[in-house]
């Protein structure tokens, strides 16, 4: 039916947000900022997000970016500009934090 078709061929923000939140929680859930673990955390978050996204089985190419920031009072801002097909492509950004870490994950999905 048309709704199913629509959900399979367009970027569904809510679904993707849930996937990403789980990936971040499971990788850095209760951790405190530790410089030595950053590389491991970044790879973990990005890789598990990407594998969960591909498991959705939709005809999309994905780009996942992740920024991890120590909570130090400094300001940070991200912006993106995209040239794509508005009817099928989309992006979503998930901001996650705990007492010592900020984590920002952006996902861009482009329909094939």
């Amino acid at each position: 039916d048309l709704n199913y078709f629509h959900s399979q061929t367009t970027f569904v923000v809510d679904e993707i947000t849930t996937v990403i939140k789980e990936a971040v929680e499971s990788t850095i859930g209760n951790s405190s900022y530790q410089h030595s673990k950053i590389n491991q955390w970044m790879s973990g978050i990005v890789e598990s997000s990407l594998s969960q996204l591909t498991k959705l089985g939709k005809p999309f190419k994905y780009i996942v970016t992740c920024i991890i920031l120590q909570k130090n009072g400094a300001g940070l801002h991200t912006a993106s500009s995209c040239f794509w097909d508005n009817s099928t492509d989309g992006s979503c950004t998930v901001r996650w934090e705990n007492k010592t870490i900020y984590c920002i994950v952006s996902v861009f999905g482009l329909a094939i």
Binding site: C66, S81, S106
Partner: protein, 124 residues
């Protein structure tokens, strides 16, 4: 006898070598825009949202001007305050490595740092 138009079999599903997303050229575009727009700029929390959006848009326009037909473009810009703290940014992509690519550049001055990444994804 078969009748074939001159225009048959001309739809490309892979870019020619000269039409590929060139990471080097894209990096130059990014570098120029960052240098031009951030030279001497101080980190100002009121201005930064507008600034980062403007940077992303300028980079995207410049890349469109360079060419890269049949490519969908994604430009992500991160601007942060320089306070000596640790920041790390990573990206991973699920795409077609033959046709798709990315370019990035970093700009730093005393009060801010800026990371810009541009991804080019071929549209079949």
């Amino acid at each position: 006898v078969s009748f074939m138009d001159a225009g048959a079999n001309t739809y490309l599903i892979r870019p020619n070598y000269k039409d590929k997303f060139k990471a080097g050229a894209a990096k130059e575009c990014i570098r120029e825009i960052l240098r031009e727009q951030l030279y001497g700029v101080q980190y100002d929390p009121e201005e930064v949202p507008t600034l980062s959006r403007a940077l992303a848009d300028s980079i995207k326009h410049k890349l469109r001007d360079v060419g890269f037909d049949r490519y969908k473009l994604i430009v992500q810009v991160v601007v942060g305050e320089q306070r000596g703290e640790g920041v790390k940014m990573a990206a991973r992509c699920f795409w077609d490595a033959d046709t798709d690519s990315y370019a990035q550049d970093i700009f730093m001055n005393d009060s801010l740092f800026c990371v810009a990444a541009a991804f080019g994804v071929y549209y079949y």
